[in-house]
């Protein structure tokens, strides 16, 4: 289970970093979302992976660490709010600047491609 979990986090992080390095705002937003999924899973695993562990005392023989679960909950809420803000900001930037490049202007090569079309 640990190997699968670790591979999953690694794959999500790799995809997130790759997408974040793209030039347009939409892939960047997607990349950040993937990175935050990876972070949430990683944070969850910091309390060790246990099967059938209860988080509340007195209900089970095995216990899971409840603190990472609470931390993940907080991180999910914050990440969701930040992503929502970033999406709105990206749309605003598209409207204000006339293109969806993260630097606010298209690089030279793409400009010439657009004109030749």
């Amino acid at each position: 289970m640990e190997t699968l979990f670790a591979c999953c986090i690694g794959f999500l992080t790799a995809c997130g970093v790759f997408l974040m390095l793209r030039g347009r705002t939409f892939p960047v937003v997607l990349g950040l979302t993937m990175l935050s999924y990876a972070v949430n899973l990683f944070l969850f695993s910091s309390g060790r992976l246990t099967l059938r562990g209860a988080a509340v005392l007195g209900t089970s023989e095995q216990y899971a660490d409840p603190l990472p679960q609470a931390l993940v909950l907080t991180a999910i809420v914050i990440g969701f709010a930040m992503t929502a803000f970033l999406v709105i900001l990206a749309i605003r930037a598209r409207a204000d600047l006339g293109n969806d490049h993260v630097d606010g202007k298209l690089p030279e090569s793409e400009m010439s491609k657009k004109e030749s079309r």
Partner: protein, 507 residues
């Protein structure tokens, strides 16, 4: 009076909520007055808290009465309370400046401002790393919205970079928290310090990786060399009161570096002691050089001031990297001085830009300013202070910094860089001043007179500089005491963890 620690967090929070409620929300005057009165009360409460901490030593507050290390705690020691006082002082000036008309150019200026104050104060007062993350996010989301206050192409462009970088920073922050929690089993700063001291050898590299990731995050917030590219554009495009408040935001990163690397990874940390210094010292020194060159190369006055922020950050980070009591004391004094004077310079830049018509704050010849004597005088005081010339506070700050470098190698590096950068800053500022005030075309002034409230705000911030110099004796003693308290980790962990004995808990 036990609950006084929570006041700097609760008061801005409640003020923001009240401002958004109908009877206050519909009237601009009521919003302004409520915001100004609330921040004045915050300043008074922060000073009360400082007096209390002076009397009683380190205080901590268990939120919901869940005792440390299980619950979240707020910690007030001299260092954090001085930073809270600084924030309140700065915020009062910035809000007064904004209330002269800047706040009506967009919506929700005052509530967002108060939410940001809540985040900043919380980040200073918290004693828990995850709570620090939460307060970082509170202040960041308020700062995102404040940055694009009043709109415009430049602001949107700067905001996209700023938001994406800070979201990435938050992700790295969470990764490092997970690594540290997974190995140490706690996120309470005092408890972490205890656990790091008795760390088993096989966890050493993991904790080191977590600690260094944390350094990347704080370096991003503080804008240290490889991670500083967002700062000039962001600070130069923000509206003046927001840029003034942002002057304290980089200092939060420096504060977090100081707190984490002197408490958790301090001298008791065994093999991990001082692990950040090797990275922070060269990065800080390079930031000083880059900021000074940037100040010389700037094409407009606001960019120039933003580069001065970089110089001060570089200086502070180098001081943090030295990791001695002397350097921490110098860092605290210099933080107070540099935050207030750069904030004042952002406001002065806006006053000048408003009166020069189309030329704005660009360093080209333009229309005459309508109040040359007033603006020239406050510009001169601000410039002398930030360059570190006597008789103002910058001189005292620089003196403390130079004295705190004891080892020969660091002394050569730090002295030469700081003195050279001061010279470059003087050149850059005198060039800016002579272009802004003397190279004028036409006889008509480019704008109306500055509103009295804005002039008051600038003088309020600038007044701190002579006061810091006049009361340098007691203030140096205060910062030395704060540094001594910061480095006395055994006393602070004992008083926070109290009767709970340290146990080896294996997860």
């Amino acid at each position: 009076m036990w609950h006084l620690i929570t006041a700097p967090i609760l008061l801005p929070f409640l003020t923001a909520l009240i401002i958004m409620l109908p009877p206050v929300h519909y009237s601009p005057m009521r919003r302004r007055w409520l915001s100004m009165i609330s921040s004045a009360i915050q300043l008074v409460l922060a000073v009360c808290l400082l007096l209390q901490v002076q009397q009683q030593g380190l205080m901590h507050y268990a939120v919901g009465n869940w005792q440390a290390p299980f619950g979240i705690i707020l910690v007030a020691d001299t260092l954090s309370v001085v930073m809270v006082c600084l924030t309140s002082f700065l915020a009062l000036g910035a809000i007064c400046y904004g209330s002269a008309g800047e706040d009506e150019k967009g919506s929700f200026f005052h509530p967002l401002f108060q939410f940001q104050l809540m985040g900043i104060n919380g980040a200073f007062l918290t004693g828990d790393l995850f709570n620090l993350f939460v307060f970082f996010e509170v202040l960041l989301i308020a700062s995102y919205a404040l940055l694009i206050h009043a709109g415009g192409k430049n602001k949107t462009k700067a905001a996209v970079h700023y938001v994406v970088l800070n979201l990435t920073g938050s992700a790295i922050f969470l990764f490092s928290l997970a690594v540290l929690y997974g190995t140490l089993g706690t996120l309470n700063i005092a408890d972490m310090a205890v656990k790091v001291a008795v760390l088993p050898a096989e966890d050493l590299m993991l904790v080191k990786a977590g600690g260094l990731m944390l350094m990347i995050v704080f370096a991003l917030k503080a804008a240290v060399l490889p991670l500083q590219f967002w700062l000039p554009a962001t600070y130069a495009s923000a509206s003046a009161p927001v840029a003034a408040l942002f002057a304290v935001m980089t200092k939060i990163g420096v504060y977090a570096l100081l707190r984490v690397y002197s408490t958790i990874f301090g001298e008791n940390a065994g093999p991990l002691a001082g692990m950040a210094s090797d990275w922070l010292l060269p990065a800080g020194l390079a930031t000083i050089a880059l900021g000074a060159v940037g100040a010389l190369a700037s094409q407009d006055f606001r960019k120039l001031v933003a580069n001065l922020v970089l110089v001060s950050v570089g200086t502070l980070v180098s001081l943090v990297a030295l990791q001695t009591e002397l350097s921490a004391a110098a860092a605290l004094y210099y933080t107070v001085h540099s935050t207030l004077v750069t904030a004042a310079l952002f406001l002065i830049a806006d006053l000048i830009a408003n009166q020069r018509g189309k030329a704005g704050d660009r360093l080209v010849s333009g229309r005459r300013v309508s109040q040359p004597i007033l603006l020239g005088f406050i510009f001169m005081i601000g410039a002398l202070t930030v360059a570190g010339l006597p008789p103002f506070s910058g001189f005292v700050g620089k003196l403390m910094i130079l004295q705190s470098a004891v080892e020969p190698v660091t002394r050569i590096l730090l002295w030469s860089l700081i003195l050279l950068s001061s010279l470059m800053v003087i050149v850059a500022l005198s060039r800016a001043g002579s272009i802004l005030f003397w190279r004028v075309s036409g006889t008509e002034p480019g704008g109306g007179k500055a509103p009295p409230l804005q002039v008051f705000a600038v003088i309020w911030l600038l007044l701190a500089s002579p006061l810091l110099a006049v009361f340098a004796g007691p203030l140096t003693a205060l910062s030395q005491q704060a540094a001594a308290q910061l480095y006395d980790t055994t006393t602070s962990t004992n008083s926070i963890l109290g009767q709970y004995p340290v146990q080896e808990i294996k997860p």
